[in-house]
Symmetry: C2
Subunit: 202 residues, 2 copies
């Protein structure tokens, strides 16, 4: 019998993905569920949207940050507001995540990079973020960046983005078990339960 698994679709530009990145590996491992990391290019590439999911100055934008702040506090996650958003270097962050996925160290890369963005002022994909995160991951900056900037990495990321769009993924993070999608950090527990049992917990 194969071990239950879920596909974890994400972009390193996603704010709510901070909450997921910090807990998915631990929660899934505790439940005996394997996490398959699936970075994509960005949300706009999935949906065709012309604008960001969250726009500064809107009530939804303010809500998003307060929502993240409350949950970060309750989970003892570091956070220093205001957080720079969006990160202009999201694409490079996702390319590095693609390299990390191919080499099997995506989990630690996410858990290193995100707190550097949300608590240390170094947005994902910027050189300061990548240099510090890659030291934490134990990987050489120049080697990883050369791989990240290779055409093969862009091609892999594009193929993953196409696959996500075909599956119906429209936001980050999304968890998929076959055709069943669960969108948002709030639904991680549902996704883990579904991976194990094919139904929701209650």
């Amino acid at each position: 019998m194969s071990r239950p698994s879920l596909d974890y679709w994400f972009t390193m530009g996603s704010t709510y993905n901070y909450l997921t990145a910090m807990r998915i590996q631990g929660a899934a491992t505790a439940a005996g569920v394997e996490v398959v990391y699936r970075p994509v290019r960005n949300v706009a590439a999935l949906t065709g949207a012309q604008s960001l999911p969250f726009i500064d100055g809107t009530t939804k934008y303010r809500y998003m940050w307060r929502d993240i702040e409350r949950r970060a506090l309750s989970r003892n996650l570091p956070l220093r507001l205001p957080v720079t958003y969006p990160s202009k270097a999201t694409l490079l962050a996702n390319k590095v995540a693609q390299v990390a996925t191919a080499e099997g160290w995506a989990g630690i890369f996410l858990r290193a990079a995100y707190p550097l963005w949300f608590a240390e002022g170094k947005p994902n994909g910027t050189e300061g973020n990548l240099r510090a995160a890659l030291i934490m991951c134990g990987h050489d900056f120049d080697r990883v960046l050369a791989l990240a900037n290779a055409p093969e990495t862009q091609a892999s990321l594009d193929a993953a983005t196409d696959a996500a769009r075909a599956l119906g993924v429209f936001g980050s993070p999304t968890f998929a078990i076959g055709p069943e999608l669960f969108w948002g950090d709030d639904h991680l527990e549902d996704a883990i339960a579904w991976a194990k049992t094919g139904r929701l917990a209650r």
Copy 2:
């Protein structure tokens, strides 16, 4: 010491509000939290959006129905897909909810009306829905409709909508404890915990 309470902002046109309507009174009562029902006109009146929150034919639309289906199943809630959406009679449904709120029977009105929409093919606010729901509520159709169509009811609904917008409410359902907003059925437990303790549960 006053009993903890939360404001439950909603519109009868909201799909996810089905999940909340069926459980909020029971969950809040069990936790010793009072529910203050606050119907609003519709989501567009809150956000200024020109389009519905969910558009037929999009991946997000398909996801929304599957998400509701899975949760309805896990909660033993009746559901017969496809559900007619949007209901063209949402305004009248919200006016009746406003009357029910003023008279203290909003909880049972929501629990009667929503299953008639989601399982019996009678969208909220249509005559078939209101006739059947008001019988379940033990109230006279003609009396309630006369009140619902009175200018005072429209004025109350408009005032509530303005208050919600001023608070930063942008979707339905939203739970508010003072300035703290919790958006979506998924966050009902967080809102109840916040009403009681001023923090999230974990």
